[in-house]
């Protein structure tokens, strides 16, 4: 089966193609060289074609998302989605049910979304849930850095090699694509009734500092050859003045690659009458100067949402802001936790307004679009359905300034946003939402349109209103099959599940097994997922390459 997409304006930055009018060919689901024989042709005359978009940080599945769905029951009651001949029913906006999540991503031109906070002990359930998210490729980042066994190893001064073996074992056991650390040491500390953990503070029981954990994990991920750097949710989320912690976290990695996630929540100073200020310029400067550091923004958008996080310590601190007034905290299996707090971000609230501006400052002040990623930390800053509006804010300075004029007056004065003239180009959007996410996750056949790439691509009608353009793709192709047209879902294939499988010395398994047998309520052999069970659940695993490396 050979498909031709004729006459499109192609944006494929990974292959240095920027707005070139050309025909694209798809053979058996992958991008192919031009062919005389064509079985099916689409006339995409003048449409903007890009690879399918990739969301590198979106809480779409796992125990905490289900808990958030319970908390958001009022919204689920209002936001009902009807079934159709080819699609399942569902509900929700900030925490959509799984099928609805897949359809909504597809309707926005997304072909992959990655769950960034899989608690190890919740891995089986999270993957079973992701099996019911159609249309997008998936994968999960396993949360380490508050798991008691790792803390024990670090406290005991274990050699890096053993740490690496442990991290590799955990990644394989949980079918993970990357490693995330959430408030390193802080979730464990909260279980010991410690309410704050600074980066150089010794945590309870183990005496390990967050700095130790960051360095150890960043190095482990690098040396194992996991493509995505340590994905770090820094300590002190949301705390005024936390920019010092964020910059210290970069230093703690000691030059090993690091990805700062939802950086907006970690870019706060203490200046001004209200002792809350933007430190986006300082973080942007650090990112601009450190090519081994990347970040995703975690932009907030005004309106109702729910914050869903592994960071029990921060969520407990934020419980007073819950709107509506209810919240959940859970301590999980000596390896993690989760906290759920509904939020309504208001443009007339000084702090919320400045958070909005700080996120945009980060986008506009970081020079390299390959190292800044478009996220709302769905649903923490806003549901992912806010992306088209966010893209317009980045591409359209006049629109941005109109929005800026609406927010709390003191926040307008506290941000440099109005003075930033930069407007993202279509090519930069294509980098930030497609080419760069694929590259930083190590997905070699996604995020570009070169020969052999999986034919995930999307066609938009050019529109000066970029929100309108990006919220209504004309065509979406997944694996070469047209799956959505003008917002209607035509087919709902399952999408692949991406994993990496680093090697480890089997000796570590004895140690992990002994720990599980003695202390945990699950044995090692059942904690670990098997490929067979994931396949039985309907997941198609794709292992991305992973080669050990040493720093020069």
């Amino acid at each position: 089966m050979i498909t031709r997409l004729a006459g499109a304006r192609v944006f494929d930055p990974a292959n240095r193609v920027v707005d070139e009018r050309r025909d694209l060919f798809i053979a058996d689901g992958v991008m192919a060289p031009p062919s005389e024989r064509v079985d099916r042709s689409y006339d995409l005359d003048g449409l903007v074609v890009m690879p399918g978009a990739i969301d590198i940080h979106s809480h779409i599945a796992g125990g905490k998302v289900n808990l958030a769905r319970l908390l958001m029951s009022e919204e689920h009651r209002e936001a009902l989605v009807a079934r159709s001949a080819g699609t399942r029913s569902g509900s929700g906006i900030a925490t959509p049910s799984t099928f609805t999540t897949g359809y909504r991503y597809a309707a926005l031109g997304y072909t992959a979304a990655f769950e960034p906070a899989m608690v190890p002990s919740n891995a089986r359930s999270a993957h079973l849930e992701m099996a019911d998210v159609p249309l997008v490729d998936k994968g999960a980042y396993v949360m380490l850095g508050n798991d008691e066994l790792l803390l024990r190893l670090v406290a005991a001064g274990a050699e890096q090699e053993r740490i690496n073996d442990y991290v590799a074992w955990m990644m394989r056991a949980t079918a993970a694509l990357a490693v995330k650390a959430v408030n390193p040491g802080g979730i464990s500390a909260f279980k010991f009734n410690t309410r704050d953990l600074a980066i150089d503070a010794q945590g309870p029981h183990y005496g390990v500092t967050p700095r130790d954990i960051v360095r150890t994990l960043a190095r482990a991920v690098f040396e194992l050859g996991v493509p995505h750097p340590l994905h770090i949710h820094c300590n002190e989320l949301g705390v005024p003045g936390n920019i010092e912690t964020t910059l210290a976290t970069i230093a703690a990695a000691e030059g090993f690659p690091l990805h700062l996630t939802h950086a907006q929540f970690h870019s706060y100073g203490t200046e001004g009458d209200r002792h809350f200020s933007s430190a986006a310029a300082r973080l942007a400067d650090a990112v601009n100067r450190n090519p081994h550091v990347s970040l995703d923004v975690g932009q907030i958008m005004f309106g109702q949402t729910v914050t869903a996080s592994g960071d029990t310590m921060a969520q407990y601190r934020n419980r007073g802001f819950a709107s509506p007034d209810k919240w959940i905290l859970m301590d999980i299996e000596c390896d993690g936790g989760c906290g759920l707090v509904p939020f309504r971000y208001r443009d007339h609230n000084f702090v919320n307004a400045l958070q909005w501006a700080i996120g945009l400052e980060l986008f506009l002040l970081i020079e390299d679009p390959w190292r800044v990623f478009l996220t709302t930390d769905h649903p923490n800053g806003a549901p992912f359905t806010a992306y088209p509006r966010l893209i317009r804010l980045l591409m359209d300075r006049r629109f941005r300034n109109d929005c800026l004029a609406q927010i709390h007056p003191a926040a307008q004065k506290a941000t440099v946003l109005g003075s930033l003239t930069r407007e993202y180009t279509l090519a930069e959007i294509a980098i930030m939402t497609r080419a760069a996410p694929a590259r930083i996750l190590g997905l070699d056949r996604r995020g570009h349109l070169g020969i052999g790439a999986v034919a995930d691509l999307v066609a938009y009608a050019e529109d000066a209103d970029r929100e309108r353009m990006f919220e209504a793709p004309r065509h979406l192709f997944k694996g070469g099959v047209e799956v959505a047209r003008d917002g209607a879902i035509l087919a709902a294939p399952p999408g692949a599940s991406h994993v990496v499988r680093p090697d480890f010395d089997a000796a570590i398994e004895t140690e992990i097994g002994a720990f599980f047998d003695r202390h945990m309520s699950v044995g090692l052999q059942h904690f670990r997922l098997s490929e067979g069970e994931l396949a039985d659940a309907g997941l198609t695993l794709v292992a991305q390459p992973c080669r050990p490396r040493r720093r020069a």
């Binding site: 029951s73 009651r77 079934r83 509900s91 069970e533």
Partner: protein, 407 residues
């Protein structure tokens, strides 16, 4: 043949240290697990109107019966996660109501999360940290024989040097006899909610006047013990509270846990969760946005804990067909005159339903996954003694395939 550790799906603990050797299971002294794994599939015949039929014909007859109903009900739901996922696909297509049997007690726990939230912990946290434990209402070991061993007697606890101080508060006749229980505070069954309210008031720092039905002194000591705990845990059996007062009792407990958490740690866990009730709730939540009592009748998932409760729907005569699937519980559907498609385990006697499809028991006849009562951990099951019977998932998929226009 080597001995292999397997997980047991027959209660909410889902212990995973049972030993399988050939086809024999050592249930580690648990009567419930032993009885579960002793179940044998001897009835293998699918039936339409009492006559033997092929699996495919039975599935077609089931599709016809359910497809013709105006408001079919899918209940039981004591099945593995794959079974629940497939039943939900079928419900969505049929416009059916989906609810577990029974569901009221579990929903009382879940509606607290919907309304107010929770302070929760999973098993390993409680087993390794809890130094003060309050058990409310009933003896967990009656339904979960290894409860004390698995959750409270952990000899390898990481973060406490002595066994936890365990207080039971509830009717004298329901008090657990396990030696792990340090103290029993008896209250009459109809005074249990009052005792919880008193504990809540004491937690708020209020002084209480003596009341004849309330053991004020032990309650005060308990309140102080929880306040002095490093990591307190309150474990309750919601069914021990009168149905009309469950919401109020749980709200008091949540308020108490929140108040304690201002200074120390205190977490809660709802007891129960047998036969993969947690897995059913989780799969319904992710697929539909609701943990149970979902009606797909209007083409959208509507949740109404009263209107869509399976027991009420049947009793009120509001449903005109039943699809029953509860192989883990081994239960037959409630005896009502309702056109019924029954997915029955191979040891459940025939009930004379219009369509009977024999299905396997997860963990015995086929593999799968079930979730523990703490709702976070799913455990894998293997086919300990494969019989060749189809799974609930396979039966539901076959029925769906016979309905025209299935997505």
């Amino acid at each position: 043949m080597p001995v292999r550790a397997i997980a047991c799906p027959f209660c909410g603990l889902v212990c995973d240290d049972l030993a399988l050797e050939e086809d024999r299971v050592d249930a580690r002294g648990c009567a419930k697990g032993a009885a579960g794994f002793a179940r044998r599939a001897t009835l293998l015949e699918h039936r339409i109107a009492g006559r033997a039929a092929s699996f495919d014909d039975a599935a077609a007859a089931a599709a016809k019966l359910l497809g013709a109903a105006r408001l079919p009900l899918i209940s039981g739901l004591a099945a593995d996660v794959a079974g629940i996922r497939a039943l939900l696909a079928l419900a969505d297509r049929l416009g059916a109501v989906v609810d577990r049997w029974p569901s009221a007690a579990q929903q009382a726990n879940l509606s607290l999360l919907q309304r107010a939230g929770a302070l929760a912990a999973s098993f390993s946290e409680i087993a390794n940290r809890a130094d003060v434990v309050l058990l409310l209402g009933s003896d967990p070991a009656l339904r979960q024989p290894r409860f004390f061993e698995r959750l409270l007697r952990n000899p390898g606890a990481l973060y406490r040097s002595a066994p936890p101080h365990v207080t039971f508060l509830g009717p004298e006749g329901a008090a657990p006899q396990d030696p792990a229980v340090s103290e029993r505070i008896p209250v009459a069954e109809d005074a249990l909610v009052d005792a919880v309210a008193a504990l809540g008031a004491l937690g708020d720092g209020r002084k209480l006047a003596p009341a004849p039905a309330l053991p004020l002194q032990p309650l005060t000591a308990l309140s102080e013990r929880l306040a002095g705990a490093r990591y307190g845990a309150i474990l309750w059996d919601v069914a021990a509270f009168p149905a009309a007062l469950r919401g109020a009792a749980l709200a008091v407990l949540l308020r108490l846990m929140r108040r304690l958490t201002l200074r120390t740690r205190c977490v809660g866990l709802a007891l129960g969760g047998d036969d993969n009730a947690p897995g059913a709730a989780q799969a319904m939540l992710w697929q539909a946005g609701w943990p149970g009592q979902v009606s797909f009748a209007e083409g959208v998932p509507r949740h109404d804990p009263w209107a869509n409760e399976a027991e009420r729907l049947i009793a009120a005569g509001e449903t005109d067909a039943l699809l029953w699937a509860a192989p883990l519980a081994g239960a037959a559907p409630p005896p009502r005159k309702l056109p019924t498609v029954a997915l029955l385990a191979g040891d459940t006697p025939a009930i004379g339903a219009e369509v009977e499809i024999r299905v396997g028991i997860p963990g015995i006849d086929h593999g799968g996954a079930v979730m523990r009562a703490d709702t976070i951990v799913a455990l894998p099951l293997i086919a300990a003694r494969p019989s060749g019977l189809p799974s609930v998932a396979a039966a539901a998929a076959a029925i769906l395939a016979h309905l025209a226009g299935a997505p």
